[in-house]
Amino acid sequence: MRPVDATAWLDFLVEGSARGIARRTSRRGLLGSLGALLVGAAVVPLLPVARGAEAPGKQGGALDKSQDPTQCEYWRHCAIDGYLCGCCGGSASSCPPGTEQSAVTWVGTCHNPADGMDYVISYNDCCGKGTCGRCLCNRNERDTPIYVPFESNDYDWCTGSDKANVPYHCSTARIVAPAR
């Protein structure tokens, strides 16, 4: 697949058009050119489509659970295991105050029924305080045993950095990129 121009890629996202793509792609997903997202980025940025996904799912319709980031059924939580940072003073994409995002994490893919697309999701934990204790959620789509660490939600991923200090507080589900 030849690289897609990054600007054209973002325009496509904003249009939100579905192209009859298989509803359930393979775990590895399809991703366009992401050079701008990777080089020098210490924090995974929020894409325009993520902001769109946090708004009410349908025009004039009720907010269903798959589109509500405080719900376990939120589409991005397809393989999460822990407390939802959105209930803890943070959000599905940001850490609550006073906690550090773990640099080491695992990365999965989840399907968004609102636009019919798969997305790469990074389950960064927020660390350095005791557990949040609110909105516990455990789902295991495409989860692997802990001997395949990078697709396993059974690790306390706060373990990965001295700054994050191991005590686990809550989990985010950050969109890294759409999967086509």
């Binding site: 295991d81 080491v104 350095g128 305080k129 005791g130 557990t131 204790g133 516990l136 455990n138 295991n140 789509e141 495409r142 989860d143 692997t144 045993p145 802990i146 001997y147 395949v148 660490p149 396993s152 059974d154 690790y155 306390d156 706060c158 373990t159 990965g160 200090n165 191991v166 005590p167 686990y168």
Partner: protein, 345 residues
């Protein structure tokens, strides 16, 4: 009160307050709560010494509770008084994950305590259980957990489904590390980490319900013949194994116990309302035991009239059954907050 094979350690990492890990001792016959050990942050489980003289407990502490400097130790507890009597310092690298029996194990003769580390670099800490001292850290890159195979050997499971066969000398240092061929099909139907040992065989189940034995032989580790825990009809009905501590075994009866539920693919961590019992010589199911409550963890006592214990991480109730008849004997309330692993003393 004299120790009994019908006692059980109920380990609990107390997920809402992970600094308050604990291990509770319960008498399965009387239902009596005998006592508790408080065991620090992200607790996995106690490891009773094979001679019963001490209880080893790999633990993690932070200097200010939920922050500060991390220290890992193996605490030594006196089984008669349930009091701490010493500790051994170990590298602060103990893997923090959903508790599994294979996070830490003793070698077959009880001489060495092996602890899986994840930083995310993978290694195994070796502690001399007899001399009560740290020995070494063995690099096990790409491989996880510890499954003892003899007095001076264990394996870890690697990310490609192969096993890393590790040999130790009498001081506990590694003398050899070799990889086997792939034993598990990681891409399509992985084996879970929750294997149990019967004699010279480790028994693993896959997400789909296949039993994959790993045999310990003088020539090394070998795949045993695989067989299915479910019939084709049962698979159509989506019966599959699941849970946190999903398997138990009784060596004397040569039986395997597996928590079973009905659910689609990727429900391998779901609890079940049945425990299916298999005769390991016949390689077929001989019994279905109905659970009074959903079970996520089971354990069977080692004696000739065994009990079957069942717990669930979302419940404080410990259920006790006759492991042969399947009869429910008693339910014991208020045993933990998020109980994880059930350990025989």
């Amino acid at each position: 009160m004299p120790a009994s094979p019908h006692w059980v350690w109920v380990n609990d990492f107390v997920f809402p307050h992970m600094s308050d890990g604990q291990a509770m001792l319960v008498d399965g016959d009387s239902g009596r709560f005998l006592g508790v050990l408080y065991t620090g942050f992200g607790f996995t489980r106690v490891v009773p010494a094979k001679d019963g003289r001490v209880i080893f407990s790999p633990e993690t502490y932070f200097s200010r509770g939920t922050r500060g400097t991390r220290t890992d130790v193996v605490t030594l507890y006196d089984p008669a008084h349930l009091a701490a009597v010493g500790e051994i310092g170990i590298p602060p690298k103990r893997s923090e994950n959903m508790p599994m029996m294979a996070n830490q194990q003793l070698t077959d003769d009880g001489r060495f305590l092996l602890i899986y580390n994840f930083t995310p670099g993978q290694s195994v800490t070796v502690v001399d259980a007899e001399r009560r001292a740290y020995v070494a850290e063995i690099e096990t890159a790409g491989c996880a957990l510890v499954f003892p195979t003899g007095p001076r050997s264990f394996f870890s499971i690697c990310g490609d489904g192969a096993l890393l066969d590790v040999r130790l000398d009498d001081s506990g240092h590694a003398t050899a590390r070799t990889r086997t061929e792939a034993m598990f099909d990681v891409a399509h139907d992985p084996a879970t980490e929750k294997g149990v040992r019967v004699g010279d065989t480790w028994l693993f189940v896959t997400y789909g319900g296949t039993l994959q034995p790993v045999r310990i032989t003088p020539q090394g580790l070998r795949r045993g013949p695989a067989w299915s825990l479910t019939s084709p009809g049962e698979r159509v009905e989506n019966w599959r194994p699941g849970g946190l501590q999903q398997l138990a075994a009784h060596a004397g009866l040569n039986r395997l116990y597996s928590i079973m539920h009905q659910g689609g693919p990727e429900t391998h961590k779901d609890p079940g309302k049945e425990v299916w019992v298999y005769d390991l010589a016949l390689r077929r199911r001989i019994q279905r035991i109905a659970m009074r409550n959903p079970a996520g963890s089971i354990q069977v006592t080692r004696d000739a009239k065994p009990l079957l214990f069942a717990s669930f991480i979302e419940s404080s109730t410990l259920d006790v059954y006759d492991a042969v008849s399947g009869q429910h004997l008693r339910s014991i309330e208020s045993v933990g907050t998020t109980p994880t692993l059930l350990v025989n003393p």
